[in-house]
Amino acid sequence: MRPVLQRLLAIPPLVLAVATLAFFLMRAAPGGPFDRERAPASPEIEAALKARYHLDEPLWKQYGRFLAGLARADLGPSFKYRHHTVNDVLAQTLPVSMTLGALAFGVSIGLGIPVGFVAAVRRHGWPDWIASALVVVGVCIPTFVLAPLLVLAFGLKLRWFPVALWGSPAHAVLPTVALGLYFAARVSRLVREGVAETLRAPFIRTARAKGAGEAAVILRHALRPALLPVASYCGPLLADLLTGSFIIEKVFELPGTGAFFVNSFFGRDYPMMVGLVILYSVLLLLFNLATDLAYRWIDPRVRHV
């Protein structure tokens, strides 16, 4: 348990470093949060706005204020969405993104593992060809093409699912597929390669020599080690999926978090941007830790290192 605790304790300083980097980089970027609306507004209004958000203070003071807020788990006010704090926005949008992300994660794992598995076992047979075709489609068609195509086919032509917005389970179908398919393709590739490689290992030959049936060989001996690459891919994947996808949320007009990543940057919404960076890094580090734990569980050899 000690290494786990150590890794857990290493997370806060790492997050702080990332947040600090984001804080200063963001303020070093050209342009300010209130530039775009300055045309009609008088210099007095701009000054008042800056004073209200403490942008007129020296940088070190702003940083101190930011740290003090962070200690209270307060990410500060949003510059773009007045009367909302970053915490508010996250509280409203994160459930949508997380639901969608979890569903898409389910699709990528639920579709990717069986497909890759079958493809590896029936290598060079027709299941392998079908799987390869899926992978080609999944990896080579960017999400911003796939999503409008799905909308066109299943939303507008066939009218099976709603075209956009969020609410009923039916609303979640198209975005989930559009988001999950790419990652399902990636996962199935990892599984296919993992299984194919494991099946060449000496302990598989031993198992076969003992007279174990093909099904037992594959399910009992080959599957677990073959999932190792998938396990290590799951950490960053989950962090990416749960914080929302800009493209999916834009195409389907979803009230999720992903859109804020890009918009807060273009709007120079400093606290929002830094808050999102913190959120992402915390999730990423936690999931990577969880992934390593899963790794230890799957592969006992790692435990003693």
Partner: protein, 280 residues
């Protein structure tokens, strides 16, 4: 091997294509939205520009972004990983902590920041020193930034390899003979990690190409009227509507992108098989 032929064909088409097709990639002269036919093999786009010429030009830019971006990533990643792995101790710890920090920063944010922050400075500098380069600034920025976010995994993999190689007998022997770290890294470590580096490079290229297309979607990629495969696909996707189907606008660039990505993927897989076969 087949993937090499496909790639060679794509590169050739992208390089000489604009001259032999005789069509201007950025200037429109024909009717808009002409379906593919004898006049325009891939049809024309919204401004009446020949799509084949645009796809060839876009392929050239996309391949260039992919290859140069991957090259930048490999250069940084290999150097960083080798130094960290060989130096060990505190230096290794600090260098890999830095990698961890960048890794935990969402890379889309990093790229957006880098592009906007650097572009102004680079433009100003180029305006004073090399004005003729200024039009290519966006492409240059993309090379640098995409490479700068893609080197992290490379550095980790290289470091891991170097940690193992460092203890190997021929390195110890070389050190005993008085060889300095630079000599050892160049003569003994680098040749031994070259295989895995090449494999990673081949797999980084398609990732960078895809990333550029995503940035184009955000308006941070190649600027119009120049085109990359990503911007062409995005233009095609924007024309998607249930009333009038202009499939060629999407199918052409998306098909070429798919072929290019697949070729690189297979190339990477093939290389890996070849190198792994050798080490076993």
């Amino acid at each position: 091997m087949a993937s090499l032929f496909v790639l060679a064909f794509l590169v050739l088409a992208a390089v000489v294509g604009p001259w032999i097709s005789g069509q201007q990639a950025n200037a429109g002269e024909g009717e808009p939205f002409v379906p593919p036919g004898s006049g325009h093999w891939f049809g024309t786009d919204i401004h009446g520009r020949d799509l084949l010429a645009r796809i060839l030009a876009g392929t050239r830019i996309s391949l260039l972004v992919g290859v140069v971006g991957a090259g930048v990533a490999v250069a940084i990643g290999v150097a960083w990983g080798m130094v960290a792995g060989y130096a060990g101790g505190k230096i290794d710890g600090a260098m890999m902590r830095f990698v961890d920090i960048l890794y935990a920063l969402p890379n889309i944010i990093f790229v957006m920041l880098a592009i906007t922050m650097l572009e102004e400075h680079v433009l100003r500098w180029l305006g004073a020193h090399a004005a003729w380069l200024a039009t290519g600034v966006r492409a240059l920025m993309l090379f640098a930034c995409l490479g700068a976010v893609s080197w992290l995994n490379m550095a980790r993999v290289v470091r891991g390899q170097v940690l193992v190689l460092k203890e190997s007998e021929f390195v110890v022997a070389s050190r005993a003979l008085g060889a300095g770290p630079v000599h050892i890294l160049r003569r003994h470590v680098l040749p031994n990690i070259l295989g895995i580096v090449i494999v990673y490079a081949a797999l980084t290229v398609p990732a960078v190409i895809l990333y550029e297309s995503f940035l184009s979607f955000l308006g941070l990629g190649i600027r119009p009227p120049d085109a990359s495969l990503g911007t062409l696909i995005e233009d095609g996707a924007r024309q998607l509507n249930p009333l009038r189907v202009r499939w060629w606008l999407l199918l052409g660039p998306a098909g070429v992108l798919a072929v290019a990505l697949l070729a690189f993927q297979w190339l990477g897989d093939g290389l890996r098989d070849a190198f792994e076969g050798r080490t076993e």
